[in-house]
Symmetry: C2
Subunit: 233 residues, 2 copies
């Protein structure tokens, strides 16, 4: 569909498994994809290198990286010197809001995507959040995404002039991590290009012990596959 | 009120008349004010110098300037090479959305204020928008601000954990420009510290001909005062 004049979409692309799969879904749905990455001072800067690899693999129409140093506000283990938790027991992961929560991160990222969408006359924003295997982040929940879309229609020239309504696509919202990988493999995602770890070595090897590594490794184990990325010894 | 333990507020401070007045209102309401300015690649960079002057004059608890280059997206006369309109007839100003509209600007700025508010455990955000003398910006309307506050409660750890509800304060929302100046003078705002012009000279002198200058000059004339800032000849 839309083969001759595909509609534009802005896809938030972190370089992780989820956003790579969300990009694959946007491509599969027939959108002309504009990938947006944010260099927010995250300790896992190597995910930005992964975002380049993924954007290239999917031959996106355009890929922009915005620099926005959220370390100015701190408040998260990802943007301050606070330690990233390691080897938390299963029953702790996914309960409560962890210290890796970055205040208002998805709100900020969607706002940047919205700004780009307005200049592209796009109404479709994609992001790779999911609320099943999620790590307790408030801004990964469906009620947040719905409220965001309503706000976006009121915030923008395009919305006010009635040229369209914004749609926030979260195609992985109700998938488990294993389900995301299964779906991604169907869509041709090469997970060896992605980066997940919150606390990689200086060489970019994944730690294998933070919540993000834990969920990734458990998901590959669940579907009986070996994770194609390299972990630190 | 709140004299012993004043609540924190984040105040978006552009360096213009409106945000200076909004800061004065936040101070007068008893808040401990944290001023946030955004260096977004605006052509009128000298408003950032003005924001320093105003923050200093009001002895804020803290003043941060976030760098976020919105020229990456363009789409506005303020963030691209597109010309700023000059000497538009009165009947044109305030009708339709002008080329100085920056896509999703207030959405982005409020999101940054929200991130800082979360780390400060603040629930009060102030901004200087108004919808009477406004220049046709969709993100200066009360319905946008209401939708934003509802979204913020769902977006944040503080909102989800029920520690409070976010309040978006727009104390100038229904004031005319002249009314804003009258109120600001009561509250001790020194408008000679502020900057308004969209298209200043390299030395930072105001052009006197853009929509922003036009509204400012007309407001001072209305209250029978001379604008204390210097205009280019």
């Amino acid at each position: 569909m839309h083969r001759d004049n595909p509609p534009n979409a802005v896809v938030l692309l972190s370089g992780g498994m989820d956003s790579a799969t969300a990009l694959a879904e946007a491509k599969a749905a027939g959108f002309r994809c504009h990938a947006l990455s944010i260099d927010y001072g995250q300790r896992h800067q190597c995910e930005l290198v992964a975002s380049d690899r993924v954007a290239h693999a999917f031959d996106v129409a355009d890929h922009k990286t915005v620099k926005l140093d959220l370390r100015l506000f701190g408040g998260s283990a990802l943007t301050s010197d606070q330690a990233v938790p390691k080897d938390r027991p299963d029953e702790e992961i996914g309960h409560g809001i962890p210290v890796t929560y970055v205040p208002a991160r998805n709100t900020i990222f969607l706002s940047l995507a919205l700004a780009w969408a307005e200049t592209l006359q796009a109404f479709d924003l994609f992001l790779g959040v999911n609320c099943l295997d999620y790590s307790g982040y408030p801004d990964c929940r469906p009620e947040f995404l719905e409220a965001y879309a309503s706000m976006a229609d009121l915030a923008t020239a395009a919305g006010v002039e009635g040229r369209g309504k914004f749609r926030i696509h979260a195609p992985l919202l109700r998938l488990t991590k294993a389900g995301i990988i299964r779906r991604g493999l169907e869509l041709g995602v090469d997970y060896s290009l992605t980066h997940t770890c919150y606390d990689p070595t200086p060489e970019g090897l994944s730690c294998g012990h933070c919540d993000a590594c834990h969920l990734r490794l458990a998901a590959f184990a669940e579907i009986g596959m070996t994770d194609p990325i390299v972990y630190a010894k």
